[in-house]
């Protein structure tokens, strides 16, 4: 007899592309968030529009959740594969609900104490019109078996289907209710894993990293984005494109990524806050223009939402394998800033902070995310999306009373930053060239211009270095084991730390969001003071490990990598750390 668990479970909805796994999953996740539950919902999709096997895995809890976690307690299967592929990760006492449109081998599951039932999901859907509503039925059944109030689902359905007209809304409402009843009928309150609304919970927003980043950029004054569609970055421009016209965000889907980054540079040169967003392949095409930003000191914010590489690679899967590429991208040498937010809240902050850094240091700022962070839905306390915390700092700009002949766009300065002015300003004529140039911006190849101008630009990097943030520490100062990570693995590693500390180990997390320039002196200190170190990265060659060694000489004891496009789970990490660090000790 399995102990009953309230508001602490994982649910997986599986089906093939086109069956509405994504929309259905998002709908129910929204309902849970409204009920005050913490939600982390990860999607696993194939690079295809129909068929294949997709799944949507949700972790739900009354306390904060930062990542997905196996085992799952409930699998709702719209295809036989959904069962086959996940059966090994189902908890004892868990359940598999599957549509009546197919059969599966139920015995092995039952043998493991998992209850298995075909519910008439497809039948109910067809009864009210169309089998495409099978996913809606699945949601109703999910609420039914877990005892979750169906009203929350009904609310979401009303809103989501409103655009499709009342008939569709009504049909879906009937479907969800019937499926709910069917599950109640079958299970009553017998299912040990229960979900209920959380009394007095604050308002929770459900958003993914791209949405949070775009919202942050908007709040930071970004009013121009030019981009070319590329998974998983596309929803950044898509979200801004449908932002209300009153905000006046000019969005341009261009002919390619070269045009995208160049338009953004033109807009920035004119005085706008401009950005572009792409994935690694598109970033590769932006490399030349990144250097244009570098030498002309025209600020730009570039989002690289990483995915499985190299080349087209695994377009719908996650990976952290562009780090060293963006650190060194483009010919020659110039300052740049690189940020890798780790949570939805950090995406929001990076969204506006990147523009301040770009304007302050007049250089390209790259925000590195990835499939996991860009597309996973996470519940956020509405108060943590705080528009009052947003700062807009445009850096040095021309104060109007400088006479034209005095103004020097690229004047040598202590901190390397020269005052910007924008075309149209009667006080200033701005000449800017991708060739080396003098303080006035005119082309020069003279040594006595090149050297101080190069030094001026590179000084900006030193100025920026002092402003960059040190890695976030989570866990005991004197921990035996330090997990070193960056970007999207934040939640998972943090959770792994809890698991390790909960099981008698002593671990902490050192998590990097600010990745370039690195405050090398402080880092040598911090890293030197660690006892046993494990670098955890979603790539093959441990790029953060290499970056740290290059900048500080630090060498980790163990590196943990994963490059199959599927995100680390916290338990994988904890287990691997126990194993590896064990090995490390013996060595």
């Amino acid at each position: 007899m399995v102990a009953r668990l309230m508001n602490e479970m994982s649910i997986l909805i599986g089906g093939s592309a086109g069956q509405g796994v994504e929309s259905g999953g998002a709908g129910v996740a929204q309902a849970f968030a409204r009920a005050g539950l913490h939600v982390f919902a990860m999607q696993d999709f194939r690079s295809r529009i129909r068929g294949g096997h997709n799944f949507f895995q949700m972790r739900l809890s009354e306390s904060p959740v930062y990542s997905h976690r196996d085992p799952v307690h409930l699998v709702v299967a719209l295809t036989p594969e959904s069962v086959a592929l996940h059966m090994d990760h189902i908890a004892e006492g868990g359940a598999v609900i599957f549509a009546d449109s197919f059969k599966i081998d139920e015995e092995p599951l039952r043998a493991r104490g998992i209850s298995v039932d075909a519910l008439p999901l497809t039948k109910i859907a067809e009864q009210y019109g169309d089998r495409v509503m099978t996913n809606t039925a699945a949601l109703g059944a999910t609420a039914g078996i877990t005892g979750f109030p169906v009203e929350y689902l009904e609310g979401v359905i009303r809103e989501n289907f409103a655009v499709k007209g009342q008939k569709v809304v009504d049909a879906n409402l009937k479907v969800v209710r019937d499926a709910y009843d069917a599950a109640r009928e079958r299970y009553g309150d017998s299912f040990p894993f229960r979900l209920a609304a959380v009394e007095g919970a604050p308002q929770r927003l459900l958003m993914n990293g791209n949405e949070a980043l775009a919202l942050g950029a908007l709040a930071g004054g970004c009013r121009f984005i030019s981009a070319y569609p590329m998974t998983p970055a596309t929803s950044v421009i898509e979200w801004l494109a449908k932002a209300p016209a009153e905000y006046g965000v000019v969005t341009k889907h261009t002919e390619d990524e070269i045009a995208a980054v160049c338009m953004a540079l033109g807009a920035s040169f004119a005085g706008a806050r401009a950005m572009t967003a792409t994935s690694g392949g598109g970033f590769s095409l932006m490399v030349e223009a990144m250097g244009l930003s570098g030498i002309t000191e025209v600020p730009i914010v570039m989002v690289d939402a990483q995915r499985g590489g190299p080349s087209t690679g695994m377009p719908t899967h996650t990976e952290q394998s562009d780090l060293l590429f963006v650190v060194h991208a483009s010919q020659g040498e110039f300052p740049r800033v690189i940020l890798a937010p780790g949570t939805v809240e950090q995406c929001f902050e990076a969204g506006w902070r990147a523009f301040n850094l770009a304007d302050q240091y007049q250089c390209p700022v790259v925000i590195l995310t990835d499939t996991l962070l860009a597309s996973s839905l996470q519940s956020v306390d509405a108060r943590d999306i705080d528009f009052n915390s947003v700062i807009i700092d445009r850096g040095k700009t021309l104060d109007a009373d400088v006479a034209p002949e005095e103004y020097k766009r690229f004047a040598y300065s202590e901190d390397g930053v020269s005052p910007r002015a924008f075309p149209g300003n009667p006080q200033a004529i701005i000449t800017t060239a991708s060739d080396e140039h003098d303080e006035s911006g005119h082309i020069s190849e003279a040594s006595d211009v090149r050297i101080p101008m190069m030094q001026k630009r590179m000084r900006k990097l030193e100025t920026a270095r002092n402003e960059m943030r040190l890695p976030e520490v989570y866990g005991p100062e004197d921990a035996e084991i330090t997990l070193i990570s960056w970007g999207s693995t934040h939640g998972t590693v943090r959770h792994a730390v809890d698991i390790l500390n909960g099981s008698g180990e002593s671990a902490r997390m050192l998590h990097f969001v600010d990745l370039w320039p690195l405050p090398e002196q402080e880092l040598r200190q911090i890293l030197g003071s660690c006892r046993r170190t494990v670098v955890v990265e979603q790539n093959c060659t441990s790029q953060l490990g290499m970056l740290l060694r290059m900048t500080t000489g630090f060498e980790a004891n163990v590196t943990l990598t994963k490059y199959d496009g599927r995100p680390f789970g916290p338990d994988d990490i904890a287990a691997a750390v126990r194993r590896e660090v064990g090995v490390g000790n013996k060595a």
Partner: protein, 295 residues
């Protein structure tokens, strides 16, 4: 109509690196004259170029200038125009920059139709890299990368611009700076994308297409009963090359909205004015309602 300005306002001390006799000098002069006539001051215009001999032009005059990278001035210019439609945006670049590496931006910008004037310094050669064939080099043209003669049919800028949907398509000649200045003025006044391809002798690397070669062949469309509004006529003239080469306005179609005219987000402000105001008064409250979509 703004008052005529003194040409001197565009003068600039920078040392000009073009070869003596280069056609680019006349193009520089013509551009200055056109802006002066139109009363567009140095701070009211933005001249965007790529890389090449001709693309150095912004360095040689006093005007807002952005010398970008090879082949990319059109998207950069489009971005600047969309961010601040008040600017008079002019693109100046070479034939390799425009029709070679920049060929895709050229055809996409033509149909996109931002209100930009595009002046191409077409010397049918790669000048700055010391003489390789360019997209507009004629078949058989001998250069260091075509020692036995180019085997590609030349790219025809007039035909391609018409096909791509440009509303103003003209050809000028660096040997006739006054006539060229007039074309540039009309191009700037045209509402939408305007192409002015300029026959520009490269006295150093193109020994075939010299001033004389062009003079012997060009004729002026203005001198004929020619209707620049007639697309079919334009299509035929656009194919003329060899013995008779038309200069002047081949095609013009007014009254179409420019790209930026239809950008909803530009109503009541533009990205440049909006951020300027937000930097003064951020108005965080305006974003609160966006949370609803996530709740």
């Amino acid at each position: 109509m703004a008052t005529r300005l003194d040409l001197k306002v565009y003068d600039c001390p920078a040392d000009v690196t073009w070869c003596p006799g280069c056609g680019d000098f006349a193009i520089l002069r013509a551009l200055k004259a056109a802006l002066a006539d139109l009363g567009i001051g140095p701070h009211e215009a933005l001249v965007v170029s790529g890389i090449g001999c001709g693309s150095k032009l912004p360095d040689y005059m006093t005007v807002n200038g952005f010398m970008t990278i090879h082949g990319r001035p059109l998207p950069v210019a489009t971005g600047a125009k969309l961010a601040n439609p008040e600017l008079n945006v002019i693109v100046v670049n070479g034939d390799g920059d425009s029709y070679g590496i920049g060929g895709n931006h050229f055809i996409q910008t033509a149909r996109r139709n931002p209100n930009i004037t595009h002046i191409v310094e077409d010397n049918q050669i790669y000048g700055l890299t010391k003489g390789q064939y360019s997209p507009t080099s004629e078949k058989g043209f001998i250069t260091s990368t075509s020692p036995t003669g180019s085997i590609e049919i030349a790219f025809n800028p007039m035909v391609m611009a018409l096909a791509a949907g440009a509303g103003f398509v003209a050809r000028g000649f660096a040997g006739e700076p006054k006539h060229l200045a007039e074309l540039i003025k009309q191009g700037v006044q045209h509402h939408g994308y305007a192409l002015i391809d300029v026959l520009q002798p490269c006295v150093t690397f193109n020994k075939i297409n010299s001033y004389e070669w062009y003079r012997d062949r060009i004729y002026h469309l203005e001198d004929e009963a020619y209707d620049a509004g007639d697309m079919d006529a334009a299509w035929h003239r656009a194919h003329e090359w060899g013995d008779r080469i038309p200069v002047g306005v081949l095609y013009r179609s007014e009254g179409h909205p420019a790209y930026e005219d239809e950008v909803v987000a530009l109503d009541g402000g533009n990205p440049v004015t909006r951020i300027r105001d937000l930097a003064r008064t951020p108005r965080p409250e305006q974003y609160e309602k966006l949370k609803a979509a996530f709740a």
